[in-house]
């Protein structure tokens, strides 16, 4: 539900989890190959690969998606395709036959010279014809039947719901839940995570449903399921509804109405405000930042039942983080945005783009300092987080001054590890229970 170009960041975040799982799973695979595990392995293989930071540095987001599409497990040829190939080879013969008026027996050496020339001319035209036919058959082989195979469905739905971005969103919600004061309630935590995950899947699916022709025209997004026709729009919307309804119901009834309301609001904000706004005004970036900020707030309200200052602080940190992350990413996509009609700061107002990124890097330092003031963390937190906050601010400053692709990439890749690390530090420096200042409600 955060601004769309979070794909790589979500992979990195879940990469270390995926890495452990991949290792265990690889051992299991050697013992018992199972159909499901095979699919799981492919997914995890990607997660593990992305763990390597140098590998990440070489892979920019657009290249990453290209690699992914090349790593897709080769599917068994659909039943129709041998039929198609047979047809096309029949066609080859048919066309060649059409172009050769002379009977086959005429290819003996005891030919008269003019007939020989004729044969040569014909063989040239046959070759040309067969190249044409070859190109045609190559083109035809790329046509796929729009038939949904049940064993492809999990993979398709995972890509439709941007499962890795969803995983990132759920992890920020979990961080919000864990940072909230009060005893850690496991059932509530699980319900919140599942509910938020479902809501995020729904929002992402609806976003993809709206953006099919635009996604087709951008390198980063051209392999999405709706673009490739792997699933129909009707099915995509049905899936979105089947995720949204239980997800919101789970949050409202299983957790509390406030969290449910925030979930619905976030789905609405992402699908009906952010998505269309992307093509209307640069304000979409700010709206998208709010979308990214709400999940940790939801985690907090799930734990405490109220919107405390701590919730706003966490939301503020996520909100500020979105700007260096997204603005740096969008710097390298200006051509695609311009051609596709997307209104982004990097295209319309490059100076503003860099200023805002730097501004929010500095804001992160301020927000980290406010954390102990609001009793969310101890005073150790601003101290230990200062190095990474200063580093990202430095890169933000470099981006502001240099305004080139190199500095934008460095800032983007820094933001990928900066957020998980910052959240981790917050968790380790969480204010222990019972230590409160005069202000602030007692934990519920």
């Amino acid at each position: 539900m955060a601004a769309s170009p979070h794909t790589l960041s979500s992979r990195l975040l879940t990469g270390w989890v995926g890495g452990c799982v991949w290792y265990l799973e690889r051992r299991a695979i050697q013992e018992s190959p199972h159909k499901f595990m095979h699919l799981f392995r492919n997914v995890n293989k990607r997660w593990f690969t992305f763990q390597h930071f140098n590998f990440l540095r070489r892979m920019y987001v657009t290249q990453l998606n290209r690699c992914l599409s090349q790593q897709v497990k080769p599917k068994p040829e659909p039943v129709a395709s041998p039929f198609l190939e047979k047809t096309s080879s029949c066609q080859d013969k048919a066309e060649i036959y059409e172009m050769r008026p002379l009977p086959p027996q005429s290819l003996s050496l005891s030919r008269k010279p003019n007939e020989k020339e004729l044969i040569e001319l014909e063989s040239a035209s046959i070759i040309e014809g067969s190249i044409d036919v070859e190109e045609e058959t190559k083109d035809e082989k790329q046509w796929k039947e729009m038939k949904l195979h049940m064993d492809d469905l999990p993979g398709i739905l995972a890509r439709l719901s941007k499962i890795k971005l969803t995983a990132l969103v759920v992890s920020t919600t979990s961080a919000g839940f864990a940072l909230a004061p009060g005893p850690f309630d496991w059932p509530c935590f699980l319900l919140t995570s599942v509910g938020t995950g479902l809501a995020s899947c729904a929002a992402n699916s609806i976003n993809q449903f709206f953006e099919v022709p635009f996604d087709s025209n951008m390198n980063r997004t051209k392999n999405r399921p709706l673009v490739r026709g792997q699933i129909s729009p009707l099915l995509a919307m049905s899936f979105a509804t089947c995720c949204a309804v239980p997800g919101v119901a789970l949050l409202t009834c299983g957790v509390n109405p406030l969290t449910g309301a925030l979930g619905v609001f976030n789905i609405f904000l992402y699908t009906c405000c952010y998505t269309p706004l992307k093509r209307i005004s640069i304000a979409n970036t700010w709206v998208g930042a709010i979308v990214g900020a709400i999940p940790p707030v939801m985690g907090w309200t799930a734990a405490t039942g109220s919107l405390d200052a701590g919730a706003f602080l966490l939301g503020g940190i996520l909100y500020s983080w979105q700007f260096p992350h997204f603005n740096a990413l969008s710097w390298g996509l200006r051509e695609d945005y311009s051609r596709g009609g997307y209104c982004m700061m990097s295209v319309t107002n490059p100076g503003l783009c860099r200023r805002v990124a730097l501004r929010h890097c500095l804001a992160l330092i301020g927000l980290s300092t406010a954390a102990p003031v609001l009793d969310v963390t101890t005073w150790a937190f601003p101290v230990v987080s200062l190095p990474i906050n200063l580093y990202i601010s430095y890169l933000g400053f470099r981006f502001y001054v240099d305004a080139d692709r190199k500095s934008s990439r460095r800032l983007f890749f820094c933001s990928l590890w900066h957020l998980p690390l910052l959240l981790l530090l917050m968790l380790t420096c969480k204010q222990p229970p019972g230590v409160t200042h005069d202000k602030g409600d007692p934990p519920s």
């Binding site: 729009m146 087709s216 051509e335």
Partner: protein, 193 residues
Amino acid sequence: MAALRPGRRALSPPLCRALAGRGRRLAPERGAERRDAAPNRVSRFCPPRKSCHDWIGPPDKYSNLRPVHFYIPENESPLEQKLRELRQETQEWNQQFWANQNLTFRKEKEEFIHSRLKAKGLALRAESGQKATLNAEEMADFYKEFLSKNFQKHMYYNRDWYKRNFAITFFMGKVALERIWNKLRRKQKKISN
């Protein structure tokens, strides 16, 4: 959308290809008709006879959109026909818009590069024979200008696209319900027989 009933293709593949072959010759004339529009390439693809689903092709060279070959079942209901025609029309409209958009972008980008290089006094090709290009910062002016120039066009397109997308999905839902209803009715008839 895939049809659930088995059906036969109206034309056998060899005949279809022969017609398409003629279609290939027709294409340049068609293209000439719409010279300001992007060249409209006739799809020469014919799905196999036994298939009763739609087929989707590789991305178009100009519009980057994947063309869909719609399956026409034998006993197509009026609703299904309406849906298919809507999808066909939307596909053509989309292909037209994006092919135009991409070609215009490419053309204007070339012109911009030429004019800038000329202003700088540089040749269009370096001594090594490689095409001279501008760096990203110089291109930024072009991107900004192109985006603002096409803003209104995109507004109209967005509005129309959203309308069509919703209409298609709505009709898909109606067709799906119709098919379920027909299936249930047939089952009931079988049971009563």
